[in-house]
């Protein structure tokens, strides 16, 4: 009898749902999709082959890998799911779970299963996962009514992949709404997630706010990171299990799209690799030749560069087009040697560089996002540039081992250690940023366990640095040629291997516990040659002469035909 009742109620809800889908922009009530019992056996098999490793035998988010993952795998037992179309705190619709499984959760270990598993296996496993929920019941239509949210439609009709062309007035309006609703308290003044270091998720594990300037790591961005829709959805539904609430009552749908426009405008448009869902790294770091001296000030206009990938046709400020590019360097935890770091705090660095022939020096501006800095002098924050110490001895593609060199090929490490002045992670961040107590150390490395300070006098300088709104900026300077035995001697117009390392003091990172990049190349580009200005006209003039000769020759041949001196198509004797 109860079954019957349920069935009728479901039927009514489905009719209602269909009726309301036909009228867009309306919140509609429904019941969660019931567990499809016939799929459970199949779903269980998929789960125990593919999912159990992270999500655990009972779905408690405690599989073998869980303790080494940050963000931890989701615990299904309470029925809290992040990516939904339903209201905050409610169970998701089956379609929400299916899209989550299909697209994965970017920026976490959850991969996109849509290209790996057939559709029927995904539906089956989603139904099995519903049965792992213990505290809630997908079949309980009395208590589990859900309200499917209304997200409106993209008012600007922008198109993927980059969703450019949202009017500035809407972005500015979005910024005002952002300020009014105090989003900065968790997400930080410029959206780098640097607002609150003490947040915990529902299970008591530490959690941080999303970094809006790295939208490719947005959970639920469904492999389409620049689409403002995902932001609207998150604002409307909140993220269950996390401190992210919903704002559906405080902010109208139209305004949610404006916030989304603002949040979306902060994310630099980088070309995204479809396989990894991350920006494609810039493997060649080009140092621009600078006339006269290089400005040693980070704020100088000569150091302002577009964030956008130069492979994307986006409007940028013309005045900075000639400036050096900001190169994207991907970082990962050092999980190869010694004590491993499974939980790096930095995902990437941005490197801009110039050199000057007059000064015979090269400048590297290294920037990265870091939500919170260390206040423990024993664990300062650090960032380093690694070079082959004996560049001249390397043959072909040969390099030292990328993790601090090897016994035969040493590396030269420029490491900047810093502590912010008058900083407290829990206090409201200063809008003007923090000056840094910074010092630089130079090391020679013959392996991760054989790193020693150089005996020669240090030649690397930090000419400027700041920590502002969740972003560290440090400018290194060094002469191209130095005396030290293990100093890299920097040639121009040559590919030089270079790698980057970063230590987050707050995470107690030290020695080989760090974030690391692989080897990149850098090159000091020469000044534009003068021949660039005179050779093209000369070549064009020569060609004009050739054309004149051709006309003359052709006319003369014609005349010879006409005068009968030569006959057409006759092979000369």
């Amino acid at each position: 009898m109860i079954m019957n009742n349920n069935y009728i109620k479901r039927l009514i809800f489905s009719f209602l749902a269909v009726a309301l889908i036909a009228v867009p922009s309306a919140v509609f009530a429904a019941v969660p999709d019931a567990v499809k019992k016939d799929l459970l056996e199949k779903g269980k098999k998929v789960y125990f082959k593919r999912c159990v490793w992270c999500h655990g035998i009972e779905g408690g988010g405690d599989g073998p890998s869980a303790d080494r993952l940050f963000t931890r795998p989701r615990n299904f037992i309470q029925g809290t799911f992040k990516i939904r179309t339903t209201d905050s705190g409610e169970l998701p619709m089956e379609a929400d779970l299916i899209t989550t499984v299909k697209n994965g959760l970017q920026g976490s270990a959850m991969p996109a299963w849509g290209e790996f598993l057939p559709e029927d296996e995904i539906i089956a496993v989603v139904n099995f996962i519903k049965t792992l929920v213990q505290d809630r019941d997908f079949d309980d239509i009395e208590d589990e009514e859900v309200f499917v949210q209304d997200f409106g439609t993209n008012p600007w009709g922008t198109k993927g992949p980059y969703h450019l062309g949202i009017p500035q007035v809407d972005i500015d309006a979005g910024k005002e709404i952002f300020t009014k609703n105090k989003c900065f308290e968790c997400h930080g003044g410029e959206g780098r997630g640097d607002g609150n270091p003490t947040m915990k998720d529902d299970w008591g594990f530490p959690i941080v706010a999303a970094d809006w300037q790295q939208c490719w790591n947005f959970r639920g961005a469904r492999r389409d990171p620049f689409d403002p829709f995902h932001i609207v959805r998150t604002i409307s539904t909140g993220l269950n299990g996390t401190p992210m609430p919903n704002f559906k009552d405080q902010i109208t749908v139209e305004d949610r799209w404006k916030i989304a426009a603002f949040v979306n405008s902060l994310c630099p448009r980088k070309k995204i690799d479809r396989l990894t869902n991350k920006p494609i790294p810039d493997f060649l770091i080009q140092s621009i030749y600078t006339e006269g001296k290089v400005s040693p000030k980070i704020d100088d206009p000569s150091w302002q560069s577009p964030d956008t990938d130069d492979r994307i046709d986006a409007p940028t400020d013309e005045t900075i087009l000639e400036n050096p590019k900001r190169h994207y360097i991907a970082m990962a935890g050092q999980i190869t040697r010694g004590k491993r770091n499974f939980d790096p705090k930095t995902d990437n660095l941005w490197v801009t560089t110039r050199w000057s022939a007059e000064e015979q020096a090269v400048y590297y501006l290294v920037e990265y996002h870091l939500r919170f800095l260390s206040d423990d002098p024993e664990y300062p924050d650090s960032v380093a540039i690694q070079w082959p110490a004996k560049l001249q001895d390397l043959y072909g593609a040969e390099k030292p081992y990328f993790i601090l060199g090897d016994s035969k090929k040493p590396i030269d490490l420029w490491k900047a250690n810093f502590m912010p002045k008058d900083y407290s992670a829990t206090a409201a961040p200063k809008p003007e940023g923090y000056q840094l107590d910074i010092s630089v150390e130079e090391f020679v490395g013959y392996g991760f366990d054989a790193l020693s300070a150089k005996e020669s006098e240090g030649k690397v300088e930090i000419v400027d640095s700041i920590y502002k709104q969740g972003r560290v900026k440090i400018m290194f300077k060094r002469s191209l040629v130095t005396e030290g035995e293990f100093d890299v001697q920097i040639p121009t117009e040559q590919f030089i291997p270079v790698a980057f390392m970063q230590w987050a003091g707050r995470n107690k990172e030290k020695d080989e516990v760090m974030a690391i990049s692989t080897w990149y190349y850098t090159i000091l580009k020469p000044a534009l040659p003068d021949s660039l200005y005179y050779m093209p006209p000369i070549m064009a003039a020569i060609f004009v002469c050739f054309q004149g000769w051709l006309v003359w020759m052709t006319k003369r041949t014609r005349q010879m035909y006409d005068e009968g001196k030569v006959r057409r198509d006759e092979i000369p004797k």
Partner: protein
């Protein structure tokens, strides 16, 4: 002249319609027999021939040469799949140009007809064409010179041997293993018998599945960061490293290797590679530093079970117990 213009329109409009409207239909995601890019190309040629016959068009030989050149260019640029590198493209186009030239110069009559518009342009009988060509060409030459002088640096290409020749023996945790005759000690049964068994669920029922479960546990505590939850080399850190982590789903990796080769690679990692495999940039740890010998073998067992591949086996000579039932 009017006829020539008609021909030109038939060609250009036809190409535009075919390329933008019809080509997408013939390039579906899954490869089909009929909906195939080469069929599409043949259809386009058929369209050209039929329209010319129906409309009784007779393009001049120079126009024909132009059509042939464009058809060749279009084929190598858009039709041929997978796309070819530009060096090869240039080689093909040079050959194609020579062929086109042979076609127009096959006899004196056609060759003269071919030359006629060119000569008329040069001597100025086609005044407008002459002015355009005489101005455009030097500008193009100047521009090409500028492009060739402008300093442009591309990231150097580095070649690397993916599966280097293994050594004869490898010493792991104080024990020497000859690679020629070492088998996985945990491969105690035929793998296919466990295709439909599941880790954890069947771990207590079958010893084999117990080893698979243990291997998977180690994999998901250590290896998935690079090799991925799907073992496809797309783990959460994989985009950072160059060379990129191996994709075990690919038939070119573990499917064609012996387990002892894997054992050597896993135990010795990046630093254990020979120089041709760029040991300096491989992020593969020497796992002997982190795992026990048994753990390495169990991970290898798991990788084969999960992907469904079978390890390559030795010939009957080197084969030792445990390989029974394998092909």
């Amino acid at each position: 002249m009017n006829k020539n213009l008609q021909c030109f329109l038939v060609f250009v409009v036809g190409l535009a319609v075919f390329h933008y409207a019809i080509f997408p239909i013939f390039t579906p995601k899954e490869v089909g027999w009929i909906l195939n890019r080469y069929v599409y190309y043949l259809l386009f040629i058929a369209y050209l021939i039929i329209t010319h016959l129906v409309l009784r068009l007779k393009p001049s030989i120079a126009m024909m040469a132009l059509f042939v050149m464009v058809l060749g260019y279009y084929f190598y640029q858009s039709i041929l799949f997978p796309p070819i590198p530009w060096t090869l493209f240039i080689t093909y186009m040079v050959m194609w140009s020579i062929g086109t030239f042979l076609y127009v110069s096959q006899d004196a009559e056609t060759f003269r007809e071919f030359r006629k518009p060119i000569v008329k342009t040069i001597v100025g009988e086609y005044k407008f064409a002459q002015i355009v060509v005489m101005i455009a060409m030097p500008i193009l030459v100047g521009f090409a010179t500028y492009k060739s002088i402008y300093p442009d640096y591309q990231e150097p290409v580095e070649l690397r041997t993916v599966h280097p020749a293994p050594p004869a023996t490898t010493k792991v945790h104080g024990k020497t293993y000859p690679l020629e005759s070492t088998n996985n000690p945990f491969r105690i049964d035929e793998q296919d018998n466990y295709k439909d068994s599941f880790p954890f669920l069947d771990a207590e029922k079958h010893e084999y599945m117990k080893y698979v479960t243990e291997g998977g546990t180690i994999f998901f505590q250590n290896c998935h960061y690079c090799h991925g939850d799907q073992l496809n080399g797309l783990g959460m850190f994989s985009h950072v490293f160059n060379p990129t982590p191996a994709n075990f789903i690919d038939p070119g990796t573990i499917a064609m290797l012996q387990e002892s080769f894997l054992f050597w690679r896993v135990a010795k990692g990046g630093p254990g590679l020979p120089n041709e495999s760029t040991p300096w940039s491989s992020s593969m740890p020497p796992w002997e530093e982190h795992l026990k010998t048994d753990e390495i073998w169990k991970v290898i067992l798991f990788e084969y079970w999960y992907t469904g591949w079978h390890p390559r086996t030795f010939g009957t000579e080197g084969s030792v117990a445990g390989s029974e039932g394998e092909e």
